[in-house]
């Protein structure tokens, strides 16, 4: 019930399940507007009594099933249950300053569905990481390398905090502790730093056709390992264990959680952070760029949130087999696209030579 939800006050990771699901009133694109919260969304005829419509028996939509965030005009995202899962175990947490390109944080975590309460854990992780990344990065000596090193340390710290939040999300000793992936992108004055653990992704989709679209970082997955061994992407990503991830956050996480880090100076384009619920249906960066441009072209006002919703709709139309999260930042860029591999001094960074 909407009336029972309260604004979240508990520290990250200690929220009640009711708390963490609450993101404010959620407008849903698929549903007709209704007079009041007690009228059934599904049939429009009944009233909600004891949590179900007294005409068609449908419960009101769970706010956790469809989250929308639009922190500013240039950043927005949609996190959706999809069509085949009983629960939305994806989570998203976004923040942005008013001035376009000045500062934004986009975090997405994809809860592992076979574990207990992963929907709580993933949201706790996303919020904990965002709280860390909301702090401006140290300028250091003022050089790009110093900035990149500071950004890398901040992302590594965010992963650590997110990991603690996942572990704290449920009582100890559950047989199947929750776990999730982690992916974050931070924009600071049109420079992007991206980091991931698991198979949720950051894509850089520049407007200029002559600049290649690409994934920043790489998956920690069986499919990625196969591709590294020479198996073609299409085959690897549809194979029997394609969705097995090799690193994740949670009580049973591997020791090394250093994220795959990439920094990049933006040109005009779209920065996308997404879960596999989207890229399952469109994995190649170039294809994704085309898909996004087509979707944006059909919109009267292609705001980041509207474009994200259009891509979520696309994934649902393809079957919506998994939860779907798409977060976008629209960047005007500041000229040339120069990229460099981040080097965090706190820990040895696992480089990504194909991205360098």
């Amino acid at each position: 019930m909407l009336a029972s939800a309260t604004p979240q006050t508990a520290p990250a990771g200690e929220e009640s399940p009711l708390d963490v699901g609450w993101t404010g009133a959620v407008p849903s694109a698929a549903v007709a507007p209704v007079d009041d919260e007690l009228t059934c969304h599904a049939c429009g005829q009944g009233r909600i009594v004891d949590g179900y419509c007294d005409h068609c028996g449908t419960p009101p939509p769970n706010p956790r099933d469809h989250l929308v965030e639009s922190p500013t005009s240039w950043v927005g995202g949609v996190c959706d249950i999809g069509r085949r899962h009983a629960r939305n175990e994806d989570a998203m947490s976004l923040s942005a300053a008013e001035a376009p390109g000045s500062r934004a944080v986009l975090v997405v975590c994809d809860g592992v569905s076979m574990a207990t309460d992963s929907h709580i854990a993933s949201l706790a992780a996303a919020k904990a990481a965002r709280a860390v990344l909301d702090q401006p990065f140290p300028k250091g000596a003022g050089t790009p390398d110093a900035w990149a090193a500071g950004a890398g340390r901040a992302l590594t710290g965010a992963v650590a905090r997110a990991n603690e939040a996942v572990a704290a999300a449920v009582v100890e000793d559950v047989p199947n502790p929750p776990s999730c992936t982690f992916v974050a992108a931070v924009v600071e004055d049109d420079v992007i730093v991206a980091g991931n653990v698991g198979d949720s992704r950051v894509y850089w989709l520049p407007d200029a056709a002559d600049e290649p679209a690409r994934q920043l970082g790489r998956d920690d997955s069986f499919a990625q390992e196969q591709m590294a061994a020479g198996v073609p992407r299409q085959e690897a990503e549809t194979g029997p264990h394609a969705h097995s991830i090799t690193r994740w956050l949670g009580r049973d996480a591997p020791d090394d959680l250093t994220p795959h880090l990439t920094t990049l100076t933006a040109t005009p384009g779209w920065l996308m952070v997404c879960s596999d619920g989207l890229w399952n249906y469109c994995s190649e960066a170039e294809a994704l760029r085309t898909l996004l441009h087509d979707a944006a072209g059909r919109l009267e006002e292609p705001t980041p949130t509207a474009v994200a919703q259009a891509l979520v709709d696309f994934a649902n139309e393809q079957g919506g087999r998994d939860n779907i999260t798409v977060a976008l930042a629209r960047l005007a860029g500041r000229g040339s696209s120069t990229t460099s591999e981040a080097t965090a001094s706190a820990a040895p960074v696992e480089g990504d030579p194909t991205d360098g």
Binding site: D50, Y52, C53, P59, I81, R83, H85, A86
Partner: protein, 429 residues
């Protein structure tokens, strides 16, 4: 003041494309008992009792005398203030007590109990058996007190209904539905279980066998004490199902099996009401089955809202849910209570069908049905039913249900198996 609770036992998860939801709803009442005969009186006019005694010729002197003693034992249990009447039945029915100038019913007191006891002494065995006329007279007696909500009768018979057609018995029973509740007892082995069960079932009562006349008094005393302890009348079970759903059945499954499906009265287009009779402090289980149009995976729907209502006001409710899932570990589980009662319902059916086939001389059908009964009773650990079955069949292999009909089986053993078939053992949670 009585309190009611309702709990639901079910597996709410349905597989992709799944449509049928089964649930057991347990309704429990506390504080529903009224004072017993030994303490206090009841408000005159809050309850009425009619005792229907078979005085047909087949009862004989000994039978009628024992029935009279049984009626006296029942009278001793009736709380002072309760309206009562005694009817003797053969080919027709007559009020034995109260005397005609007192009306059809009188309040129980020391004085009226004494008069009634003396009136019973005058009963004589004579004539045939037309139970429809007895029930009709009972209904007419209850109709003289329309303000009394708790109306209960005890019917005793020893023989097959004759002197009236089955259709006229059925019509008489139908006219009594909702007018009063009736517990029925058959004494000896000359009555027909299915015939008397039909009366008891329609009139929300129990049916049982009393093997010998001497055992009647104890049985009557127990029946009347149970009736006196029921302080709640006018109750019903209400079942709502969503638009587009089909209610497959509503059955009481404990303490006895009773299919209520056809007793539905319409509350509104989505809600039906089913009479439950009077309640004491007790627990009853109901099996509700609903067919829903399948929804997509991940969706949830309220499949049924089951309410227990008093005088039209819901006092307890249970929600039966449906959730579609692609997780086989969730969807393939059958709720233990649903499974147990489904098995007990099948057991009752095969016992009744098996005995009917045996009576009709279809030995191969009877052997197959009773074999299946042995198998079910064995598989569910229903030792009481296995013991009863053993008196009717020789068990070669309970596992496979291989049995032979016992040539020496007595009529009483078959009848006691038949009457016991609808008594279920309560599923513990």
């Amino acid at each position: 003041m009585a309190d009611f609770t309702a709990e639901v036992f079910q597996n709410e998860f349905l597989p992709d494309g799944g449509t049928d939801v089964h649930a057991i709803v347990r309704v429990t009442s506390t504080g529903a008992s009224t004072a017993t005969a030994s303490s206090g009186t009841t408000d005159p006019g809050s309850a009425a009792e009619v005792i229907l005694i078979d005085t047909s010729g087949s009862m004989g002197r000994r039978g009628v005398q024992a029935a009279g003693e049984a009626a006296k034992a029942a009278l001793a249990e009736i709380v002072d203030g309760t309206l009562f009447s005694i009817v003797s039945g053969n080919g027709t029915a007559q009020i034995v007590y109260p005397y005609s100038h007192q009306g059809a019913l009188v309040p129980m007191s020391g004085h009226t109990r004494g008069e009634a006891n003396r009136a019973i002494e005058g009963l004589r065995a004579n004539g045939g058996t037309a139970m429809g006329t007895w029930l009709t007279l009972a209904r007419q007696i209850f109709e003289t007190v329309p303000h009394v909500t708790k109306r209960h009768a005890i019917l005793l018979t020893d023989g097959v209904n004759e002197g009236e057609t089955p259709a006229s018995l059925q019509a008489a029973v139908a006219s009594c539905v909702g007018a009063f509740q009736c517990d029925c007892r058959g004494v000896g082995d000359q009555w027909r279980v299915d015939e008397v069960r039909g009366i008891a079932s329609a009139l929300l009562g129990t049916v049982d066998l009393i093997p010998a006349p001497e055992e009647m008094a104890a049985e009557f005393e127990a029946m009347m004490r149970a009736s006196m302890s029921r302080g709640i009348a006018n109750s019903e079970l209400r079942v709502w199902v969503p638009q587009g759903a089909e209610l497959l059945f509503v059955k009481q499954v404990s303490p006895t099996l009773e299919d209520l499906t056809s007793r539905r009265t319409v509350v509104n287009p989505l809600t039906g009401a089913y009479p439950t009779g009077a309640w004491s402090d007790e627990s009853r289980d109901y099996h509700v089955a609903v067919r829903l149009p399948a929804r997509t995976l991940g969706q949830e729907q309220l499949a049924a809202r089951v309410q227990f209502s008093l005088g039209g006001d819901p006092v307890a409710q249970a929600l039966v849910k449906a959730k579609w899932s692609n997780d086989d570990s969730l969807t393939t589980r059958i709720d233990p209570a649903v499974a147990a009662y489904t098995g007990q319902a099948e057991l009752a059916t095969v016992i009744q069908e098996g005995l009917a086939a045996k009576a009709a001389g279809q030995d191969d059908v009877a052997t197959a049905k009773l074999g299946r009964a042995v198998q079910l009773a064995d598989a569910t650990g229903n030792d009481e039913m296995t013991t009863r079955l053993k008196k009717v069949v020789e068990i070669d292999d309970a596992d496979t249900g291989t049995v032979r009909l016992k040539k020496s089986a007595s009529k009483i053993d078959e009848m006691s198996l038949d009457t016991a078939s609808t008594k279920t053992s309560r599923v513990r949670r």
